[in-house]
């Protein structure tokens, strides 16, 4: 069995997202799709899974031409996709979620769905109670549920679009294990990512896209530098944080006794210096987000006493704190960060500190052009978030940070960015710290934490269990601390 793509082309207005792509994927193969932000990976995945119809080109499975007119048509032809954020129904039970959209025949009853789910759970070591509300499942488990569903519907090709961005390390291991067993059983897997290590770890072949074109296909493992050469037409600069002796005075102090269910440690007592970069490590939901939001003034669950340059701002709201130069960047950019349907220019106008009655659209447009330029966003002042690739949405969010922030609070600042963009972002962030910005950020990327932080706080189940200077941090140490082992 093999999946053949023949000259797939897809354009969005002037942008050629997929430029006559031809590719063969064998059964039992885990095939990587690698490329920088906006290279066209997601677009190709959407074409194959019936979400987007190509301008031209055909797809064949076992020499039979497929009609991929809709997502369900793709599924019944045997191609299933796992979205980064699984398209599941949060209010449904796991088994009901599987039933929605399944064929109404004797082979797809509720009992059989439950039976199948339990079988898959056993086979791949998942633990999903068929009756549990999907809401209570972690993102990783929702992915497992989707995989179970797609298998139940007879998928022979599985596409995963950046599946590891929002899940924990152990869930990632589990996912990789699952993918490997699926491939061993003869399934074709297409693995979309811009993370080189991941591609190296799991794929047997990789195809590199750049600006909608195929730059080459390689057998893995191969030297990472070869892949980088294919991905970018520019040289990457080495990165790293220089010594942190130059830190300024204390800028932010936290103290408090508030004990809540969210955050179980009774006592919070921390100070941060001007120009310091502090990383918050931990599994998803271990308390990093609560702390960041609490400092931002969006939540008072963690700390009552917040002192900014020795001034008590504990009672000030986020709006007030913004006037002191605080800025918070949420992880869920789609829902909390950007406004659906507003153009980049409108976002700029919205974020502008000026509060005159009439919006100066000309100025906002100029400004948005500048941001697009400075952050090399692939889009125009009129682009809406939905038309930007994931990485470009993140760049836009960074571009919307007001000038000279004093305290920057970020969740996963480079999630979804390719290495070159991530390096670029950090260069920018470090230039901010030189101007006196204090940065606190959460991240699940150990390299990022070790490379850029002056200090790292490790969270476990709602408490900070360890503070590390960056020199003390190693992957092994962080790994075991994340699991609560000191």
């Amino acid at each position: 069995m093999s999946l053949q793509l023949r000259s797939i082309t897809k354009t969005f207005g002037p942008i050629v997202a997929n430029d006559s792509l031809s590719l063969t994927i064998e059964s039992g193969e885990i095939h990587g799709l690698l490329g920088e932000n906006g290279a066209g990976k997601s677009t190709l995945a959407k074409v194959l899974s019936g979400f987007v119809s190509p301008d031209s080109g055909t797809v064949e499975l076992d020499d039979e031409q497929l009609k991929l007119s809709s997502p369900s048509a793709a599924v019944s032809s045997g191609i299933g996709i796992l979205h980064q954020e699984p398209l599941v129904f949060l209010d449904f039970s796991a088994v009901d979620n599987m039933l929605v959209g399944s064929p109404r025949d004797g082979n797809h009853t509720k009992d059989l769905a439950e039976e199948h789910l339990l079988k898959i759970c056993e086979q791949f070591n998942f633990s999903i109670d068929p009756l549990i509300p999907v809401q209570k499942l972690s993102v990783g488990e929702r992915q497992q549920l989707e995989i179970a569903r797609l298998l139940w519907l007879g998928a022979r090709v599985l596409i995963l679009d950046e599946p590891t961005t929002a899940i924990s390390g152990s869930q990632r291991e589990n996912l990789f294990q699952t993918i490997r067993s699926l491939a061993e059983a003869g399934m074709s897997v297409i693995f979309v990512s811009h993370k080189l290590e991941e591609i190296q770890e799991i794929c047997s072949r990789v195809t590199v896209l750049r600006q909608g074109r195929i730059m080459g296909t390689k057998h893995l493992p191969c030297p990472t530098s070869d892949l980088i050469d294919l991905m970018f037409d520019r040289e990457l600069e080495p990165q790293g944080r220089k010594s942190s002796d130059s830190l300024g005075s204390i800028c932010l102090e936290l103290c408090g006794q508030k004990v809540t269910t969210h955050f179980e440690s009774g006592k919070v007592d921390m100070t941060f210096r001007t120009g310091e970069i502090v990383g918050l490590a931990g599994l998803e939901g271990a308390g990093q987000r609560d702390l960041l939001r609490s400092i931002a003034g969006l939540d008072d669950t963690v700390t009552e006493g917040v002192f900014f340059r020795s001034r008590d701002i504990g009672d000030d709201s986020y709006i007030h704190r913004m006037q002191y130069g605080f800025h918070y960047l949420p992880a869920d950019r789609g829902r909390e960060g950007l406004v659906d349907g507003l153009t980049i220019t409108e976002h700029v106008a919205l974020a502008s500190p000026q509060r005159s009655i009439a919006t100066d659209w000309k100025l906002s447009r100029e400004e948005s052009k500048k941001i697009i330029d400075k952050f090399s966003i692939k889009g125009t002042p009129e682009s809406v978030p939905a038309s930007l690739s994931g990485g470009n949405q993140q760049r836009l969010l960074l571009g919307l940070i007001p000038d000279n922030p004093t305290v920057l609070l970020m969740e996963h600042p480079t999630r979804g960015l390719d290495i070159e963009s991530a390096a670029w972002v950090w260069k920018y962030l470090m230039s901010l710290t030189e101007e006196g910005t204090t940065i606190l950020f959460s991240s699940s990327d150990f390299d990022e934490l070790m490379t850029y932080c002056d200090r790292i706080f490790v969270f476990f189940e709602g408490a900070i269990i360890q503070e590390l200077a960056s020199v003390e941090a190693t992957t092994e140490r962080l790994g075991s601390l994340l699991g609560g082992v000191k």
Binding site: V52, S70, P71, F89, L90, D91, V100
Partner: protein, 314 residues
């Protein structure tokens, strides 16, 4: 309380039950038909008028259903196909239908007309208390009660009901599973509209026989409120309707005894509804209802996440 009083409560709440159930069905699919008050009024008028002219209640009922379904189809078309704001369209239609009912209903004001006849259910009507309270009513009343349970079973026990939840909750996900979201939304909006029409006819052919301007006394708005109070659950909505009926009837009964209280009672449901909703959504209460399984979810209630948003696949 006497069985006769219960019978009155049930009978007088019947129009409300139809309207609230119809709107629950519509909103479950993700469409808001805000024109309820207008379309209920208009269908009360057309229902009565056609029954009056033809002498047949059945024809009246059918015409009423057709009237309200037509209004609903306008809401559906504007909200789904034209992607207009459903709230705005609903409000305009309310106004339009209200005016139209006054304009075309002029000839039928305060005329005696046919009405739905009582039909006791043999065997059941002899049950002490319950028999008199429930089983000596007219067919429309029985239908409304049966309908509540039918909708409950449909929504929570069938595959189609599951699809209904899916299109209301996350239309893009439902679409990706191969469900024709917009077609189904049309169907449920129009079906829901037909039930609202039945509610209108239940007024003019039974609960408050005849026709006059503003005949349904804003029950459409009350039904809309009850849908929310009912947490988009058919049985809870039905419960809300009867509770409302209970308060109204109590006010009448208390009139001679406690005139002050009787004056306040008719407006009591509205603050009560708000208090109840606030209570249900308290964190403490949530932590209890979270543990109660399906009964908990009945108490909690939840708006369809995609309510009022149009969906169009690219």
């Amino acid at each position: 309380m006497e069985a006769a009083t219960v019978a009155i409560i049930i009978a007088s709440s019947t129009p409300l039950v139809f309207a609230a159930l119809g709107e629950t069905l519509t909103e479950k699919s993700g469409v808001v038909n805000l024109s309820l008050d207008g379309s209920m009024l208009l269908s009360a008028m057309t229902g009565f008028a056609s029954a009056y002219l033809s002498g047949s209640v059945e024809i009246g009922l059918c015409v009423a259903m057709f009237t309200s379904a037509t209004v609903a189809s306008v809401v559906a078309f504007a909200g789904i196909k034209l992607r207009l704001n459903q709230i705005a369209v609903g409000l305009v239609l309310t106004y339009f239908a209200t005016k139209a009912s006054a304009l075309f209903g002029g000839d039928f004001v305060r005329k005696p007309g046919p009405s739905i006849q009582k039909m006791s259910i043999p065997g059941l009507e002899e049950i002490p208390f319950v028999g008199e309270a429930v089983f000596q009513q007219n067919p429309l009343v029985y239908l409304s009660i049966v309908l509540g349970f039918v909708l409950f079973v449909f929504m929570f026990k069938t595959r189609r009901g599951l699809d209904l939840h899916a299109i209301g909750d996350r239309p893009e996900a439902a679409f990706s599973r191969g469900i024709n979201v917009n077609l189904q939304r049309y169907v449920y909006t129009i079906l829901g509209g037909a039930l609202v029409g039945l509610g209108g006819a239940a007024f003019s052919l039974d609960a408050k026989m005849g026709w006059s301007d503003g005949h349904i006394a804003n029950y459409g708005w009350i039904a809309l409120a009850i849908v929310i109070f009912g947490g988009w659950h058919p049985l809870r909505a039905m419960f809300g309707c009867y509770l409302f009926g209970l308060i109204q009837v109590s006010a009448l009964e208390l009139q001679p005894v406690l005139p002050d209280l009787a004056q306040v009672l008719p407006i009591a449901p509205f603050p009560l509804m708000i208090v109840a909703l606030v209570f249900i959504n308290l964190r403490v209460v949530h932590s209890v209802t979270d543990r109660l399984g399906s009964i908990g979810s009945l108490i909690r209630g939840r708006a369809p996440s995609g309510l009022g948003e149009s969906f169009w696949p690219d």
